[in-house]
Amino acid sequence: MKNKTQTAPASLAMDLQDERLQDRTGLKGQFQAFLDRTRSGDLGVLPVIGGLIVIWAVLQALNPIFLSPANLVNLTMESSAVGIIALGIVSVLLVAQIDLSVGSVSGLAAAVVAVTSVNMGWPVWLVILTTVALGAAIGWIYGQIFNRFGVPSFVITLAGLLGFLGLQLYILGAKGSINLPFDSPLVYFAQLAFVPIWLSYVLVAGAAAALFATDYFHSRARRSAGLSAMSMQNIALRAILLLVVLGVAVSYLNQSRGVGWMFIFFIALTLILNYLLKRTKWGRSVYAVGGNPEAARRAGINVKVIYTSVFITCSTLAAVGGLLGAARLAAANQGSGTGDVNLNAIAAAVIGGTSLFGGRGSAFAAILGIIVIQSISSGLTLLNLDSSFRFMVTGVVLLLAVTLDSVSRRSRSSHGRA
């Protein structure tokens, strides 16, 4: 036993009494805790952010326009549609499934938006409703096939990829390409709607205040239940940090056109999905099903419902992404949703740290991943390279960006937490 007291002092919080726990309170303790997390690879999204900073620095060095406010505004707007699709991908990856059809579904949604709003003259709300309902219906069908017949989701959604691409072509039919008028509210939302400057700062302050309040009440509840809790100092620090970071970002973007409502919408969806995943029973069940479906079933979770709900989430978000994509392009055509939409959405989720094997990842993976991808693409766009070099450089930079994250995560698995 050496010189350590056998029983912990009774005053210690209920969850800190085990005597093998090394002291991690106070400033030094916090630093130690950070080192612990670094060594065990438990840094969350920090390494991805690190990778992003590296990319940004390199690209900025190559072309000083890259970090200009105007280009960053472009970046935010270009990330939103595919980013929303990537959110859906995160949720299917969490249950260790895949959806290869998000591109086609988004393309189909774009076609439906164009046909209903332009050719049939439906009001905007009905168009949006129809699109969302379509996405949900597709996800529901996937869920049924998956649950009833046990066909691998790879195959179901591969069939969906082909089938809905066909449907998209069919719906676009004789037209091939349909313009959305530039004065349509959808197009306005996706192209020209920016948050007024005063409101942008109000939003930033609101976000910081919300973080503070959440932390504060959570910590109070924990303390009164006899558990360890974040110190007041810490809580304030986090809120101030958020305030400063967001404030600087927003004021920088405001030098150009500012923060687009579409980007705000993307962030809002991310936060909602994050809440659903982390703070509700449904989210807990999603992680459980992803980690060990049999254990989840034995815990009484209706695994089939979870699968269906996740497929619905994914297809619905894909449809919303398609809608916004069409609005941003002010057109729907046969190419909508084809090409690398699928691969980019899946890659964004994976680059952000979502595991393809289920049970690990977060909604923030989508936002970080898509920003990595779009940064590379936008940065190289400014360099006027040959296609051949552009592809090669994209590959290399992507790999470098992710390596940092992987190396930190690897120490995690070598510490037994895969």
């Binding site: 209920m14 085990d18 239940a225 069940s285 815990a299």
Partner: protein, 274 residues
Amino acid sequence: MPSEPIAAAGSPQLLSLRGINKSFGAVAALMDIELDVAEGEVVAVVGDNGAGKSTLVKVLSGVHSADSGTIAFEGREVTISSPAAAQHLGIATVFQDLALCDNLTVVDNLFLGREISPLRLNEVDMEVRSWELLRQLSAKIPSVRTPIAALSGGQRQTVAIARSLLGDPKIVILDEPTAALGVAQTAEVLNLVERLRERGHGVIMISHNMADVKAVADRVVVLRLGRNNGDFRVRDVSTEDIIAAITGATDNVVSRRSAARGTGQGPTQETDAS
């Protein structure tokens, strides 16, 4: 040794199985199994490795469906089609393979499927309840916020046992609950079984440890190669008889080992095979 179920004295039957069969391909894992559990009764199910004990547990808890046979719960005939259905009936199970989600934390696993306030999880209450439950079982878990993957075998088993006590089950099925537990935790679990009996719950406990079985069980049901091979009142039977029923012979490696050491060494003959 054909088996005739012994009716529990007095208390109403909680669960009775008749003619349960289950095959996996060419392997017949259960053949014509009968089993009764009364309220406030602790039934130990024992048998050799591969005798079909866990398969029986899985049939009872809705993990597998039986090929044929009937299950009556509280007098009514029921079909247990899924684990959720079993839980609904009031059957809580600790599986031999524990069935925990490695990627979730201890608290998450404890409350999985039974979260407090589903739309806005009450993490604080759940954490407090977790500590209480785990303390009660003498668990040595440094933090309930570590993922299950980082726990030792015994710590995991304690979590699985704690899980089954949430909710208010009518019957608790424990498949080798103390296999990985330390001496103190084993004692706590045995205490717990006794408390469950006192509160009138039925308990089915599977164990290879004859000492544990003799200590807490009221009845011992022996399975051998997928068939019933004896149903004894604990107080009427000796460890040797149970072991003979398990191995199918009175002259077995256990008795031989016992005899060999009896002439040689220690004072712990009766249970050293456990």
